[in-house]
Symmetry: C2
Subunit: 396 residues, 2 copies
Amino acid sequence: MKKIILTTLCCLFITCAYGQTQDDSLLTEKRRFHLAQFTTFGGQVIPNVNVGWESYGKLNEKKDNVVLITHYFSGNSHAAGKYHPSDKQAGYWDALIGPGKAIDTNRFYVLSVDSLVNLSANNPNVITTGPASINPTTGKPYGLDFPVVTIGDFVNVQKALLESLGISSLYAVVGPSMGSMQAIEWAATYPSWVGRMIAVIPAAQSDAWTTAALEQWAMPIRLDANWNEGNYYEQTPPTEGLTAALMLITQQALSPAFFNQQGDSLAYSPLEAGPLEDIRQSHSIVNWLYQRAKSRAGQMDANHLLYLVRACQLFVAGHQGSLQNGLKNIQAKTLFIPAQSDLLLMPYMAELSHGLLQAQGNNTHIAPLEGQSGHLEGLLNIQEKAKTIRQFLENE
Amino acid sequence: MKKIILTTLCCLFITCAYGQTQDDSLLTEKRRFHLAQFTTFGGQVIPNVNVGWESYGKLNEKKDNVVLITHYFSGNSHAAGKYHPSDKQAGYWDALIGPGKAIDTNRFYVLSVDSLVNLSANNPNVITTGPASINPTTGKPYGLDFPVVTIGDFVNVQKALLESLGISSLYAVVGPSMGSMQAIEWAATYPSWVGRMIAVIPAAQSDAWTTAALEQWAMPIRLDANWNEGNYYEQTPPTEGLTAALMLITQQALSPAFFNQQGDSLAYSPLEAGPLEDIRQSHSIVNWLYQRAKSRAGQMDANHLLYLVRACQLFVAGHQGSLQNGLKNIQAKTLFIPAQSDLLLMPYMAELSHGLLQAQGNNTHIAPLEGQSGHLEGLLNIQEKAKTIRQFLENE
């Protein structure tokens, strides 16, 4: 069990040296969606928007079998399948999405879209528009001149893509973490579109605690002198600041149980000789965390992280001032899947939204993940809720 | 209740503009203890060690009524009382220590000592020796040439002070957080000295999770260009890095309930106009957290924070390689007071130590704080356990 979790984590979040090979994985490809211009929730116009997207399964004639998957903070639209049969790792929710799986691609047309300001701007399999993109006005990367964008903007880009395919309803929208924000936003802002909404390790708003916690992710980047107020595209990027941010995110997304198991495998001890002898040396568990974060940082863009943080901080379902107001519009049947050991978006957030929906008479369900991997239970162990999800999607 | 907590927090951790005035507070003064030289656990010799200390109550003739209070990470020996009757704030555990209080100064001689590498090196009421001190060899501040020190070293300095007063036993040793580490270290390393040990919001070792979490506090300081590998004493100090570290510490030491209550008082909303309009602006809750951290940073030294982090990371009770080995030596009657909402040193740590002591037949007790203020329950609301502590100290 330990080995499986570690392998999965390594491959999900870190440059992958080895991984699971699943013969039953779908093949997919990254496609590009272009918008000549897009107006943000804040009223700014972004010309020449490009985002990547993937799909699994087939759109039926009535175009009413669409399941939209919305991705998490450091994720992208590679939710399932492989680009090539030889890929060592399938998309992050491959355990959930595929032929005969809980989100059954024999029945559903499953689709996922790279977010605006996607973290992995330097990943060749990600297509996104953000501060690292070229500002057509200047011919140089936007940097901090890129407009602030919101979770609602991510949803509106997805909606434009769906409309370009002739789609006008979602059988379901399903997403983990920041993806849950998008799923809830869909249900709150476009209620007539959404039949079912599944929010995994979710939050329906960024409360004061969460907004402050997200800010901690941004601080190390701004402290790195190479960040240079966001103008680093023609010089050394703020890799150390970005690495520190990723170390913090990784720890907050996991749990003491996970880290202490990892410590065991490193023969971690508080009284290790190096850090006792020299203030400049670090413990084995710190070196492990640093190296993993550093290896991820290369495909990511530091400014994009700041913009993603801001999108999450600004989130309240429906963008109508209060959570209660936003949730009032939801018509979809809803399922909340928090993780009991989650330290990032704690279960109280799912319970709050579920409770408010229940109080207003909605058809709503909650089914907590019980494992000990913290927030990442929703990615690493989502198969624990495969049956619940299948039933939720099957029943009318 | 809310107002009381906020006032107390402001005064404990932030430059205090107002605060409780308790007419029943003791008067005390900071004294200086000097050691011509001190040899660290790691075998390094530090010449000319100075630490501050305070006492409350009177040492009896048999010198057997001593209660030692060991302080927390950002604290110092001002555990109770006031320096002047007009002081706006008494020592941090004044609710617990005083005439007729749970730690009754009519009966006990209560004593507390500023740690080595104390965080508040620039506070005129703190006397400490650390990287900001003058290295007699060079005539300049040590910076990173100061030796790594451990929780065991803090205890050995305290022991030298006690011995200089002719004291050779402790009726009890009591401390919160990093102070609990020192209390447990006392009981594990000098078992014949210690009659009773009370560990509040405690940890008996730094496990892999805790060591990694502590490292996150150090990262922002090292990222600040003004840190300059610890050589900043003749130039601008790394105040922004130190402020970021304090923001993280403050959040981890509190809880969602606390922050969301604070958010209410700020009229926090996810969709605040400033941060929606401009990536350079921040939410009200972030500004609140930043300002409070910044106002604390002036009295603190960034290198001292790095050394305190390291002392905590290296901690395992008894410094004998494993927690089990260290706890085996404990003879003291023990009481563990974790906080149920603690996100920093979670209750599992107290339960582990209590369980191991119970299994080896020790007289051990556990009494969790039930409030919602996180780790700081052990400072802000310790009076909730005043009766438990009084009884624990009274009974043989």
